[in-house]
Structure formats: C-alpha cells, structure tokens
C-alpha cells in the first residue's frame, strides 16, 4: 500500500467519525426536543383538565341560571371526554364560554363565588403560558425535522410529528 492511499483511508475514517458524531449529536438534540414536546403537553393537558373542573364547579353555583349551567357544563364535559380528534374544537368551545363568563363577571358577580372567578383568571393565565411553551417546542421539532439531514437519516425514528392545534392558536 502506498503512502497516499493510507492518507485517503485515514481521511475517510475521520470523515465517517465526524459524520457519526454529528448524527448522534443531532439525534440527541431532536430526542431532547421530542421529550420537551411531551412534557409540555402533559403540563398543558393537566391545566386544561383543571380548567374544565373549575368550569363545572362554576356551573354548579346555586344561583346561576340554568341556561348558563347547560352551556358551561356541556362545554366542560365535552372538553374532558373528547377524543383526540375532537379535543381541539371542544377546548375552543370551552375557552369561548369561559371568556364570556369572565367578560360578564360584573353581572354574574352575585351568582359566582369570587374565589372561583379569580381561580379561573389564574388558570387561564397559566394555560396561556403553557400553550406558548408547548407551541415553541412543537415548532422547534417541526423546524428540525424539516431539515435534509434529519429526513435522509430518519433521525426522528418512529416518533409522530407533533401537531399544532387550532385551540392553541386561539389562546396564544
């Protein structure tokens, strides 16, 4: 073997090592982001469940009129029971029903315990933050996965592409 051939082999090995390192680095990066999407969704999901529970509690206020009761209770119930496909629409409906309650808090003041209303305000603010954090992670994953290297080497494996729901855009 000549000296120059050795040089070439050496170079190829180096390049292969660099590529391997880069791929593993990228895969870890993506994996970390996937993980963040999952945890931020879990957090958001928990908050949304909490919101639905508060909505039902508000609906059960003894002095509330039955029409408001029916509207709130069915929106909250649908949000809690919704399948993945219906979830976004159900959460949207609940958001709208609740923001109506908040905007009419002056009229409803007598019927709803103030502590419940302030709890609602707090949870709505938390949800807004959680949605933004979640969407950021979703966007980062989507951006990364659209890159050529990630597509060629299938670095995402079998992980499903995270979704952006329209109810999140309404809140964020």
């Amino acid at each position: 073997m000549t000296n120059s051939m050795l040089k070439i082999v050496f170079l190829v090995v180096i390049l292969a090592l660099i590529l391997a390192w880069y791929l593993s680095f990228s895969a870890t990066r993506l994996d970390r982001l996937h993980h963040r999407v999952e945890t931020s969704w879990e957090h958001l999901d928990a908050l949304l469940q909490r919101r639905a529970a508060i909505a039902i509690e508000i609906a059960h206020q003894p002095d509330l009129d039955p029409a408001t009761y029916v509207l709130l209770a069915s929106a909250a119930f649908q949000a809690r029971e919704a399948s993945i496909v219906e979830r976004s629409e159900a959460e949207s409906s609940l958001s709208q029903s609740l923001s109506l309650i908040q905007s009419e808090a002056d009229d409803l003041g007598d019927a709803i315990t103030p502590s419940l209303l302030s709890e609602l305000t707090t949870i709505s603010a938390k949800i807004k933050v959680a949605v933004n954090i979640h969407l950021e992670a979703v966007n980062a994953v989507k951006h990364l996965r659209s890159k050529l290297v990630f597509r060629i080497f299938r670095l995402a494996g079998h992980a499903p592409l995270p979704l952006r729901y329209s109810f999140e855009d309404d809140i964020a």
Binding site: P66, A67, L71, S74, D110, A111
Partner: protein
C-alpha cells in the same frame, strides 16, 4: 275553541338571523294572530331596527357561541333571566309555547321561571350527545314542568326520547301551501331541462358534491340539462371544483325571497335534495311538494320519512352519485312518472299546510289548558336550586 287566547312564544335563537326555527315561529304567530288570538313572541335581537313585527319583544342582543359543534346565537345569564321574568310577569299569558327548551337560551330560562300551562316544540334531531350525562340531571327537572311536548319530526321525537326519555306528539313544520301552489313559473329558469337545488351549498352536509359527480352522467344523456343553484354562499369558491362541462350548465341565483322561491319551484323540472345528513324535518321538500315539483332526494331518515319511503318523491342511495344519476335520468325520461309524483305529492302536502298544522298545535294547547288558569312566575326557584346541589 272560541275563547281567544293570550299566547307567549319564546324563540331561543337570534330573531334577525335566518333559521328554520325563527321562520316556524313567525308563521305560526301570524296564523294565530289572524285567528284573533293575542300572541307575543320573545326572542334575542341583534339589531332592533331589523324588526317589523309589532308582536315581537326583544330580549336584547344574543351572543354567538359554539354549542354542540355549531355556532348558536343565544341569550343566557342573569340579565336574560331577569328579562324573561319581566316579560312573563307583564304578559298575563294563558299559555307559553317554548321552542327548543333544551338549548341554553331563553326558552329554558322561561321554563325555569314559570308555572302553568307550557307547551314545547323540539325541532332538532341529533345522535345522542355524551354531554347529556352532565346536563341531563339539570334539564330533566326543568323539562318536567312542560305540560305537553311536540316534536317536528319522527327524528326529533327519537332525539328527545334518547336524551330525556320523554314522549312527544309529532306535528310537522308548517308551510303556506296556497302561496306555493299559486305561484307563476319564471321563464328564465325554464330553458332546457332544469334541475333545482336550494340551500347553503358550501356546507358539505347539503350534498352538492354528490350532485356534481352525478351531473356529467346526466349531461351525457340529456345535453340540454341545466342546474340552478339557489341559496347563500360564495359561488366562486364552489365553482372551482365544477367539471367544466357542468359549470357552463349551472346558474347561481343567490338567496331567493319567499316569492322567488315559490316561482323557482314552479319553474324547475325536478327539485333535488342530495343532503348527506343532519336534517330533522326537511321543510324544503314539503314546500317543493306543495308547489307540485317532482322531487329526487337522498334516502336519509328525515327525507325517507317525509316522502314516505319514496311514495311522494324518488329516493336515491345517499352519497351514491351513480345511483343519483340513474334516478335523475330515469325521471327526466319519464314524463308520466313526473306528473304522477307531482300530483300525489301535491295532495299529500296538505298535511303540512299551516291550516292543518296550526290547528293540530291548537288542540295541544287546549289539552294543556285543561284545569290551568294562566302562566305565573314560579315562586320556588330557590327550591330548584337546592335540588341541584344534592
């Protein structure tokens, strides 16, 4: 009954937005007023300057809110609640007629607030909602107060039965047969063999896409076939998906007035209703029948009920455009069958004329009035609240 009644009717949806329930209430109120009864209709109103009816009392502006998957314009909350009570207190009604009291709006509030003879009409038909487990226990005690229940169709009756396990008398929606029957055809809608469609064509459940797939086959058999589409919606948007051979055979007429609609029915050769679902009654078919227009409709339960399994109009296998094309071609070929369908349907449609329908409703009123002396505000709303807390 000779006694003149004081009737309070409640509409749950915004009065100045178009809808079947609003039209039903308007025509029923007008009929009873012509009979000499005193009617007051209570409804949410977006813009008071839209209101011409002297008998309408506004409940204030409705809010648009999603409920059960569709946006509804309804009124609720403490303000609406107190307006309902005020209207009832001032009205001194013999009887209340509440429309759609299971919708979270004025009818439900009225039912909650009053005591005495109350009749309710249920219009909607839907598959059983899961949310009913959450709201059923609240609605049931309120709806229990209704003296009598009416459903506008077999489907609506079934919906009521599934949700609240209560029975209802079926009395159909009403139409003005005479007006429809006496309308004159409009020659500009009569060039070639015309097929008419009315409805919000952008909504998928109205089934325009099924018809579009069938049209090229029909056009092959009858080169002079024309498609007339009436109803609100963006026609440019829809036209994009038209096969070119059909686009040139199609006219969009926009929204028709009641008079134009009557003349439309008189002009077209066949009226087509390709709806894929979501109908409770199908008033448009009753109107086409009264005008004597031969009908082709999908065999969804509401239409199959209304047309008595094809007795009064040809049915095709819903969402099957090949079957639709076949039925259309057969009917366009066979003038005798068209005349026969038209004559039979015309006679049958008497059943839906206000003359018949309103009298049926009046007999339900009479039943509800037995042993009752007028509508009062309930005194035990508090008790209802306590029951809810248990």
């Amino acid at each position: 009954m000779n006694k003149k009644l004081k009737i309070g009717m409640v509409c749950p949806y915004g009065w100045d937005t178009p809808g079947g329930v609003q039209i039903h209430i308007k025509e029923l109120a007008e009929y009873f007023i012509n009979q000499g009864h005193d009617v007051s209709v209570f409804a949410p109103v977006t813009d008071d300057s839209n209101i011409q009816e002297s008998w309408l009392v506004s409940a204030g502006r409705p809010v648009a809110i999603p409920f059960n998957g569709a946006v509804a314009r309804i009124s609720f909350g403490p303000l609406a609640s107190s307006r309902v009570r005020q209207w009832i207190a001032n009205g001194d009604f013999d009887l209340l007629h509440l429309h759609e009291p299971a919708i979270p709006s004025l009818s439900l509030l009225a039912c909650w607030a009053s005591e005495g003879p109350m009749v309710a009409t249920f219009h909607a038909a839907s598959p059983k909602q899961k949310a009913i487990y959450a709201i059923g226990p609240i609605l049931e005690p309120v709806l229990e107060k209704l003296t009598a229940r009416i459903a506008v169709s077999e489907m609506a009756r079934q919906t009521l039965k599934d949700h609240f396990e209560t029975e209802a008398v079926v009395i159909p929606n009403g139409i003005n047969s005479t007006k429809l029957h006496e309308a004159e055809p409009n020659p500009i809608w009569q060039s070639g063999r015309t097929i008419g469609f009315i409805g919000r064509f952008t909504e998928p459940r109205k089934g325009l896409s099924v018809l579009l797939e069938a049209m090229p086959i029909v056009a092959k058999a009858f080169p002079d076939v024309q498609l007339l589409i009436a109803g609100p919606g963006d026609s440019d948007e829809v036209k994009k998906v038209f096969p070119p051979s059909i686009a040139e055979r199609t006219k969009f007429l926009g929204r028709l007035s009641e008079e134009e609609k009557a003349s439309f029915f008189k002009s077209v050769e066949i009226y087509i209703a390709p709806n894929t679902g979501g109908e409770s009654f199908g008033i448009i078919l009753a109107e086409a029948m009264a005008a004597g227009t031969p009908i082709v409709a999908s065999d969804i339960p509401a239409f199959s009920d209304l047309l008595v399994s094809g007795e009064y109009g040809a049915l095709f296998d819903s969402e099957n455009s090949k079957d639709l094309a076949k039925i259309l071609i057969e009917l366009l070929r066979d003038q005798n069958r068209r005349q026969e369908l038209s004559a039979r349907a015309l006679e049958y449609s008497e059943k839906f004329d206000w003359q018949t329908v309103a009298e049926q409703i009046m007999s339900v009123y009479e039943l509800a009035l037995v042993g009752n002396d007028g509508v009062k505000l309930g005194s035990e709303n508090r008790m209802w609240n306590r029951r809810r807390l248990q």
